[in-house]
Amino acid sequence: MVDMTALTNMHSGSEASRRIRKRRRAETRLKAYGILAIFLAAVALIALLSSVIFKATAALTESYVTIPVKLEVAEIDPDVTNDPRIIRRADFSGLTKDALKTRFPDAKGRTTRRELYDLTSSGAAFELAEKVAADPDLIGETIDYQFLASDVTDLYLKGDFGEVFDKPTNGKLTVALSEDGARLSSSVNDFSAALGRVKDGLIDQAKLKRQQAQLQENGVVFFENALSDAETDAEKKQAKAQLVSRRAARDALIAEAEDLETRSQSASGAEDLSESNRSVLVRAGGGWFKITRLDTARAEADVIIQPSESIENVDEWRLLVTELAPNARKVSDNQIAWIEELREDGNVATVFNSRFFTSGDSREPELAGIWGAVVGSFWTMVVTFALAFPVGVLAAIYLEEFAPKNKITDFIEVNINNLAAVPSIVFGLLGLSVFLGVFGVPRSAPLAGGIVLALMTLPTIIIASRAAIRAVPPSIRDAAVGLGASPLQSVFHHVLPLAMPGILTGTIIGMAQALGETAPLIMIGMVAFIVDIPTGITDSASVLPVQVFRWSDFPERAFEARTAAAICVLLGFLVLMNAFAVFLRKRFERRW
């Protein structure tokens, strides 16, 4: 029997307080989950934004290298016409190569030459052509021209290929040049620090080998099991063969790793430097050397730039060690030496990258800009707005003010709600088959994109407009109709103006969604490579989000920063639009 009055006593006493503590703990737990959820969402947002913004900073600047270039009359305008058209047709890219060759005459051999030509952008020659065409008086002179640096040069200057460490030098350097290289010796053990770094690199390599060995070991275990489980002879044979080859591979890798480890541990002992070691470069007497064999006080080296004087017991010399091995970075040792040499001469400049905001798309990252995509987005948004806004508002007026309440209206409502949740890619397919296929709207054009986005935005605008119209109190309509206005007049003269701030807010939010939309535009061909800035709604164009998508797919590293920068621009526009919507809502919000 339960005595209800006795139960009352269970609310106090030690048992009750023990229970209450437990219940309070459960409450704290739930609250903690909530805080954790908010925290995780915040972390995700911060990680996303910071990674984008951090990556984008690299696209804010671009680099130029100044190299004297001789503008030969014979090459450019042999007949001295001074006609810009003839000048533009001249071989400026050859002139650029000549200028580079003149600057670094020691670059010989096809690969080395190609590395040299890679210092400047392929677009630099066009710019030089434009400059000369605009100012034909320059022809015949030798000018110091600022060539746009290639993406590799630019990234190296931004430290994207790892740091380059300047090791202190105390001793005096002597270099003996011979046919096949140079022998370097320092009066003290200046190379030991560099050697140490190289040996640290060996440990990393050994680690990698051990990881690979571990993978082989996994294979060994797998096939050991396979062997014991095997039932037929053929299976056994296969497993055995696999086992043997994997064991061998594992043992070889472990041996290599052990060798690397012992080499890294001995403080002395010369190292041969290969593609997989950190590079060591020496600059002395106006020349550059790439070390091929390194000991604590002496080294063997290849000559990248011939020294201008003989080097004997020189005090002033630089010893550079790279963070990454040549096979782990896109910039070669030669290029590092050339760029560093240009930098020593003050011929490298890094300036604000205005090109990114003013030029169209390009396959060369250093030439690529977002202006074309921004203009494309603008035209697309113009079309979207011109279609979606009137249609959306008029449809909302009809549904709110005139539609009879019947099955058809219900169906339209369900239909609009569903349309709002149809995946965007399906709208792309609709655009592809109906507007491109049946109506013959030009492919890749803002017109096509605008129509598709308008259909996508329509439900958003209709839903927002209906809410805004519904919020206008019936007394306003009654007042207008009571004065003899027709229902249509009451709506267009009184209700609509009052609902307009709400309608505009909804429209802007819908447009912001459309601005960030990508998938349907890919379907209708706006993903094509388009260099020109579109001038109207029927030109081929790309839009910002599609540009982001395309660039993110390119293998060149330099595009990563540009993609991130394009995202920042896109987010900037979205923030502006949403801020404007919030402003409208705050400024004109009316509570009835």
Binding site: M1, V2, M4, T5, L7, T8, M10, H11, S12, A16, S17, R19, I20, R23, R24
Partner: protein, 265 residues
């Protein structure tokens, strides 16, 4: 419609269950309750009356600290339950509310079965050791709430399916199942029709035997019918407090008199 027989039957225990002293309540900048002192007797029905917005409900919600759930609400002063300060730091409002149950203006059964509605309180407070005990608590509570006969065959039906009066009695049963010492009722009959009201009033009178009941009502007749003590609130002040028959027959304050005779309200 006054039931004189009931008034003569009234017995006073005179033991103080709840003592409030200098209670002030603020909603943001609004001063909702101004320096209220009141002593509520054990095992009796006390009615709070007054025009709407006078603060009677607000004061009721101070007694089980329901006001804590409202962010902008601040309470100062002392309220003691059996000599224990309920606003003391070490008092857990959750534990307090188990001892001081509450029934609300609008019947608010949970969207669960009738059984689960009543079993909810005993479950969270761990009052039953097993299913049989829980069943017993549910049955007893529903019997005390005078609704057992109406629902005993459909305990699994949703509580929201009952009629308004049944819902309110279910809510009372739900409050009883938690085994409180005090029952607070915030205009429990305002959403009910006259017949349901009569049933609930009858129930309140029966509950007096086991519980201290505090009821807020805007109906003076109801206060007169069910309560032994009456407190009249006006504009956040406790104007007058005393035996119900005294208040209704011989009010000492002119405002009380105006209210009772229908001149303010």
């Amino acid at each position: 419609m006054m039931n004189d027989m009931r008034i003569t039957e009234r017995t006073m225990s005179n033991e103080i269950k709840i003592a409030a002293k200098g209670v002030d309540v603020f909603y943001g900048d609004t001063h909702a309750i101004k320096d209220v002192d009141v002593e509520i007797e054990n095992k009796a029905v006390t009615a709070f009356i007054g025009p709407s917005g006078c603060g009677k409900s607000t004061f009721l919600r101070c007694i089980n600290r329901m006001n804590d759930t409202i962010d902008v609400c601040r309470v100062s002063g002392d309220i003691h339950l059996e000599g224990e300060d309920i606003y003391a730091k070490d008092v857990d409002p959750v534990q307090l509310r188990a001892r001081v149950g509450m029934v609300f203006q609008k019947p608010n059964p949970f969207p669960k079965s009738i059984y689960d509605n009543v079993a909810y309180g005993p479950k969270i407070h761990g009052l039953a050791r097993n299913k049989a005990e829980l069943d017993e608590i549910v049955e007893k509570s529903l019997r005390r709430a005078a609704i057992w006969d109406e629902v005993k065959d459909r305990l699994d039906a949703p509580g929201t399916g009952l009629s308004g009066g049944q819902q309110q009695r279910l809510c009372i049963g739900r409050a009883i199942a938690t085994a409180p010492e005090v029952l607070l009722m915030d205009e429990p009959c305002s959403a009910l029709d006259p017949i349901a009201t009569a049933q609930v009033e009858e129930l309140i009178d029966e509950l007096r035997a086991s519980y201290t009941v505090v009821i807020v009502t805007h109906s003076m007749q109801q206060a007169a019918r069910v309560s032994q003590k009456t407190a009249f609130f006006h504009l956040g002040n406790l104007v007058e407090y005393g035996n119900t028959d005294m208040i209704f027959t011989n009010p000492s304050d002119s405002r009380t008199e105006s209210y009772i005779t229908g001149r303010i309200g």
